[in-house]
Amino acid sequence: MHRSLLARFRQGHRTHRFPREAPTLPPLYRGMPRIQSEKCASGCTRCQEVCPTDAITFQSGKPTLDMGHCLFCGLCETACPADALTFSRDYRLAVNRRQGLIVGDGEADRAALVETANRVFRRSLRLRQVSAAGCNACEADTNVLGTLSFDLGRFGIQFVASPRHADGILVTGPVSENMKLALQKTLDAVPAPKVVIAVGACAIGGGPFRGHDEVHNGVQDIPVDLYIPGCPPNPWTILDGLLRMLGIETPATQK
C-alpha cells in the first residue's frame, strides 16, 4: 500500500487538459496538408511521382491530395520545388464524408465536416475495435487513448470485448480477404443504432496495400460514419475525431 502511494506521488497526475488545452505535438509533426496551386510550376508533377500511394492527382493542372490514401510521409513536401504542397501542424483531420478527405486549393473548414452522431451516444459510447490486416500501428495508437494522458474514459468512451456491448466498430487495416467475414460478423453483432469508424489510411483506402489481391482497399460496402486519416493517425487526431463526432468541441493546434 505505502509503496503504491509513494509511486503514485512520484508519478503524479498525468491526464492532459485536452480539450480545454491544445495537445502538444512533436516539432516535426505533419498534419493537415495545404495546397497552394498558384505556386505550382506549370507541368510539374514531382509530388505525384514520389507519392507511394498515388494520393495526389492532377486535375486541370492543379494538384489535389486525397488524405484517405496519404501516408503523411512528407515525400511530396520534400519533392515540391515551390512549397506549393506543405503539411501544417493541424491535427484535426477527421471527417464524416469520404469526399471531405480530398484536399484541394485553399482551406475548407475541416471542423465543420464532422456531424454529431446519434445523440444517444453523447455521454456513453462503447466501441468494438476490429483489426483488419494493418501493421498494428493504428491499433497501438488507438490503444494509447486508454492511457493516462489521453484518458479516453473521461469522455464516456470505452473499448469493449463483445460487439453486443458495443455501439459501433472502429476498423483499422486494409481489410484483408481473410478478415472480411470477421469484420462483417462483428458489425452484424452490434445492436442498432451503431457507428462505423475507419481509422488510418489502410482502413480508408488500403494504404500502402492498396490494389493488392489480398486486400479489399479498406472498409468498402459498409457505410462509414467517421474517417480518421493518417498512417497511423496521431492519437490526438483519433481522439479529436471521436470527440467531434460526439459533439464535443476540440481546440485548434497551438501556433
Binding site: S162, L181, K185, P191, P193
Partner: protein, 661 residues
Amino acid sequence: MWTFLIGCSVIELGGLFALLLLKREKAARLIATLFTVAGCAVVAVPVFQTLFGDGTAPVQLPWHLPLGEFHMGMDVLSAFFTLPVLILAPLSSIYGVGYLKKHKGSGAHYFFLNTLVTAMLLLLCAKNAILFLMVWEIMAISSFFLVTFDDHLQSVRAAGWTYMIATHVGMMALLAFFAVLSHQKGGFDFAALTADGELSPGVSSLLFVLALVGFGSKAGIFPLHIWLPEAHPAAPSHVSALMSGVMIKMGIYGLMRSLTFIGEVHASFGWSVLALGGLGGVVGIVSSLAQHDIKRMLAYSSVENIGIVCMGLGAGMLGMAFQNPALVALGFGGALLHVLNHSVFKGLLFLCAGAVVHETGTKEMNHLGGLMKKMPFIAAFFIVGAVAASALPPFNGFVSEFLIYFAGVQSAMTKDVSSIVLAAAVLTSLALIGGLAAASFTRVAGMVFLGEPRVPLKQVPKDPGWAMKMPIVFLALMALALGVASPLLIQTVADAQLPVTGADATLRVVAGDIVPSLNGISLVGVAVIVIFAIIAVLYRLIAHRKSVALTRGPVWDCGYAKPSVRMQYTPSSFSAPLNQMFQPLLGTRTALSRPSGYFPKSGAFETIVSDRVKDMFYAPLFRLVARVLLLFRILQHGHVHIYVIYVAATLITLLLVTAGN
C-alpha cells in the same frame, strides 16, 4: 379406517386387473391408473380427517399366530406421510400410461406399481411390527420388479442386484431392531412398543443404531445411499419419481416412528443424525455434480435432500435432548415439510427427465443439449423443478430449508455452546449445499435444455402427450403453491410431529412464532412473480418497439468462420473445478491420454464417475456375497428373479423364527 382399507384394496385390485389383462397393454394401463386414482381419492378422506379433523378409528382384526395381529391405525404422522403417496402415486400412474406406450409388459408392471403403492399406504398405518415388516418386504420386492422392468439390460440387472442386497441388509437390521425391542418391551403391537419402560442406555443406543441402519438404508441416508443412484436411473422414470419422491421417505417415516419406541432421545443420537445429514447433503450434491447420467444426477440429489431432512431430524432430536421446544418444532417441522416438498419437486424433475430420456434415448448429459427448442414444455417445467430443487424462492424447496435454517438460528439464541455449534453446523452445511445445488441444477438444466445439441439425435425430440404433461403441470403448480402458501401449512406440519415429540402446547406457540417470517416469504414469493411479470412486459415493450432494430445473429463467436458444437461448454467441464475440489469425497477418476510431442496425433480424456463409499465399502462386500452365493451354485439359474425368491424365502423364515421367540 375402513375407508382407508377400501381405498387400498381398490388400488391393489387395479393392479390385479392389469395383471389379468396381460395381453391388452393399453387397457391394463388405463384400468390400473383409474383404480389408483380412485383408490387414492378414497384414501384421502381419512387422511384429511386425521390431519384437519377428528381422526379416524383404528382397525384391529384378530389375525392369529404366528404373524401377530392385523392392526391398522392412522395418526397424524402416518397421515402426513401418506400425502406424498397420494400426490405421486396417481400422477406416476397417469404418466406411465403415456410413457409405456412403446413398451411391453404393462400389465405386470402396473401390478407391481399398484402393489408398491398399496404396500406403502399399509406400511404407514401398520400398528404391528410383524405386519409392518411384511408390508415392508412387499414394498421392497414390488419395487425391485419395477426397477428391473428393462431387465434385458445388463446395467439394469446389476442395479436390481445392488438394490436387493442393500434393501435386505436394511431388512436384517430391522428384524434385529424389532426382535430386540419386543424382547425388551414384550409384544409386537406398536402400542406395547411405545409404552413407557426404561431402556438401558446401551440397549437404546443399540436400537437407535439398528433403526438408523435399517431405515436409513431405505431412505438413502449417507453412507447407506449406495443403492439409490443405481436403482433410480435403472427404473422407468415414473417409477424413479415414485421411489425417489415417496418410497425412500418410508425410511424417514420408520426412523421417526422408531423414535417413539426408543423413548428418551440422547443428544448423541441427534448429533449422529445431524452429522450424517450434513455430510450426506454435501456428498450427495457434490456427487450429483459429477454425474454424466441425468437420472443418476437426480438420484444423488435425493441423497442430498435426504441429508437435509436428516439435518432437520437431527436438529429436532437435539431439541428433545436439550429440551428446547422451539428447536424440536422447527427441526422436525422442517424435516417433515421437506419430505413433502422433495417428493413434489423431485417427482417433477424425474417425470421431466423421463420425457427427455424417452425422446432422445439417452441419459448421458454430455450428449444432450438444446432441447429447449425441441421440447419447450418439458424444458420450462424442468427449469421450474430445478429452481425448486435449488431451494430458491418462490418455490417450495426454500420454505422447508428455511425452517431448518430457522431452527439453527433460533437455537443459537440460547447462546449455549452446543446450540451455537449446532447452528453453525446447520447453517454452514445448508449454505454450502444450497450453493452447490444451484451449481448442480443450473448445470443439468443448462446443459440438457439450453444451447445446442452436442450429438446429432436420431429423431427429432418433441414434447410428450397430455398423459405425461398433465402430472408435470400439476406437480409444478404444487411446488409453487407449497412455496407461497406455507403459512397455511405450518400448523399441519407442527401437528404431524406430535406422535414423536408430544409437546402439544409449545409446538403451537412456536409454530406461531415463525408465521410472520413465513408470511414475509409468501409475500416475497408473490412479489417475485408480480414484479417479474411487470419487468418482463416493460422489457418486451421497450426492446421490441418498432423504432429500433431487433435482429437475430450468431452468438458472438469472435468472428470465426466455422464455429462448431464442440465449442460448447460440456457438463463435465462445467463442474470440473468443483469436482476437483471435492475429489476426496467423490472418488472420480480421470483417464487422460495427453497430447504428447510437438505435433501430437491423438489424445483423449474422460472422467470415470464412481462413488467412494461404494468403492471402499460396498464393492468388497458385494464380492463377498457373490463368493458366498457361488457355494450355492447348485441353486443358481442365472436369473435375478430367482435370487429374489431365495432371499424372500430366507427372510420369511427368519421372520417366523423371530416371531416365534
